[in-house]
């Protein structure tokens, strides 16, 4: 059984990656945070007594299931929103809206550190993350599990519920697609 310390270490090591994976999938920070929090709580509540070496695979499955659930809910919600917006087309424009009040200031801590190289890297990361977000969901899952989580092909196949051959195909296609997209922007890693 994973001790509380082992679980804490595992969660602290995976939380940022999990958040990023969720963001790549849902493209919404708040939704991604909710997804990660739900996944963490579910892991602790339901599988907190499992051995520590089983936690990564279980957590990844929970996270992917939560992401899928989010898409399902969004689909249902969009259906109702479309229906009601078609019924009432009256859109009130808020004249008091001031865009300056809603702009998010950049992180103060990194402004004075930004050199040209750091800026270039930040832009590169942003482009790469955007391209990963554009990948089909299965390719995205396989690519991130295989290379970021460093799961074996067998574990990735287990987590994705598909064959090992499918995992290899998804990973290869994802890598090729990313390389092509970056190359089109004049970037090579």
């Amino acid at each position: 059984m994973a001790s509380p310390q082992q679980l804490a270490d595992f969660l602290s090591g995976i939380d940022k990656r999990a958040f990023k994976q969720a963001v790549y999938a849902v493209r919404d920070d708040d939704a991604a945070l909710d997804i990660v929090q739900d996944a963490m709580i579910k892991l602790a509540e339901k599988y907190g007594d499992r051995p520590a070496n089983e936690l990564p695979l279980i957590f990844t499955r929970i996270l992917q299931n939560r992401i899928h659930d989010w898409f399902r809910r969004q689909k249902v919600r969009n259906t109702w929103v479309t229906l009601f917006s078609a019924l009432g087309k009256k859109q009130l424009e808020n004249e008091d809206y001031d865009p300056l009040e809603h702009l998010i200031a950049p992180d103060e801590s990194s402004i004075h550190q930004d050199g040209a190289q750091q800026l270039e890297k930040i832009q590169l990361i942003a482009i790469l993350e955007a391209e990963i977000s554009k990948l089909p969901s299965r390719q995205q899952e396989a690519f991130l599990m295989r290379y970021w989580e460093e799961f074996s092909i067998t574990d990735t196949a287990l987590a994705m519920g598909c064959s090992e051959g499918s995992v290899k195909t998804h990973c290869s296609r994802a890598t090729q697609a990313l390389a092509k997209a970056l190359k089109a922007k004049g970037i090579s890693l």
């Binding site: 945070l33 963490m40 709580i41 892991l43 602790a44 899928h68 092509k180």
Partner: protein
């Protein structure tokens, strides 16, 4: 494993045709590209804004508070003081085994106790039948009147000398039987 169906592709961006996306990378180049990409993603993950980091920390603490802990069995809760705070798996040194193993161990112990009780009951019943058999044999073979066997003292005498009963002649039993049969 059960897996929910993947979200419909209409809700996610898609790219058509796997082969048309290829950038002509060899497997080695693919691995190198993936490694470089992951290094960048890892750096990106470390540059989260403080607000998100704070929320992730809160989520982690919330999850840790909700961690599932194995529920001790009733005997572990109730009998722990008797073992100086150690119970069940701790005493037997099998803490690495799960609750199922503990349950099986306790079931095996319970079954052993039940079978032991059944064996003792069976043995007692068999012993009682043997006593009755001795009594019946004595009634059938002896000249002692059957009324004598209604006396508890005579029965005790027979039990005490069961192995010698065949050596006892009817003559030796006569006085005892007569005493037992006569109303005092």
């Amino acid at each position: 494993m059960n897996r929910p169906t993947a979200p419909t592709q209409s809700s996610r961006p898609t790219q058509s045709g796997g082969q048309s996306q290829t950038a002509g990378l060899t497997p080695t180049e693919e691995a190198q590209f993936a490694q470089s990409a992951m290094a960048l993603l890892q750096q990106g993950a470390q540059q989260l804004v403080p607000k998100i980091r704070h929320r992730l920390d809160e989520a982690r603490l919330h999850a840790l508070r909700a961690q599932k802990t194995p529920t001790p069995f009733f005997w572990q809760r109730n009998f722990a003081p008797a073992f100086g705070g150690q119970t069940g798996s701790q005493l037997s040194g099998d803490a690495k085994h799960g609750p199922i193993f503990n349950m099986l161990m306790w079931l095996a112990a319970s079954a052993a106790v039940i079978f032991g009780l059944m064996a003792i009951t069976d043995w007692q019943q068999e012993s009682r039948l043997q006593d009755l058999a001795v009594l019946d044999a004595a009634i059938l073979t002896d000249d002692v009147p059957p009324n004598a066997y209604a006396d508890s003292g005579f029965l005790a005498f027979l039990k005490a000398h069961r192995d010698l009963s065949h050596e006892l002649s009817p003559d030796s039993l006569e006085p005892a039987a007569a005493n037992a049969a006569s109303p005092s």
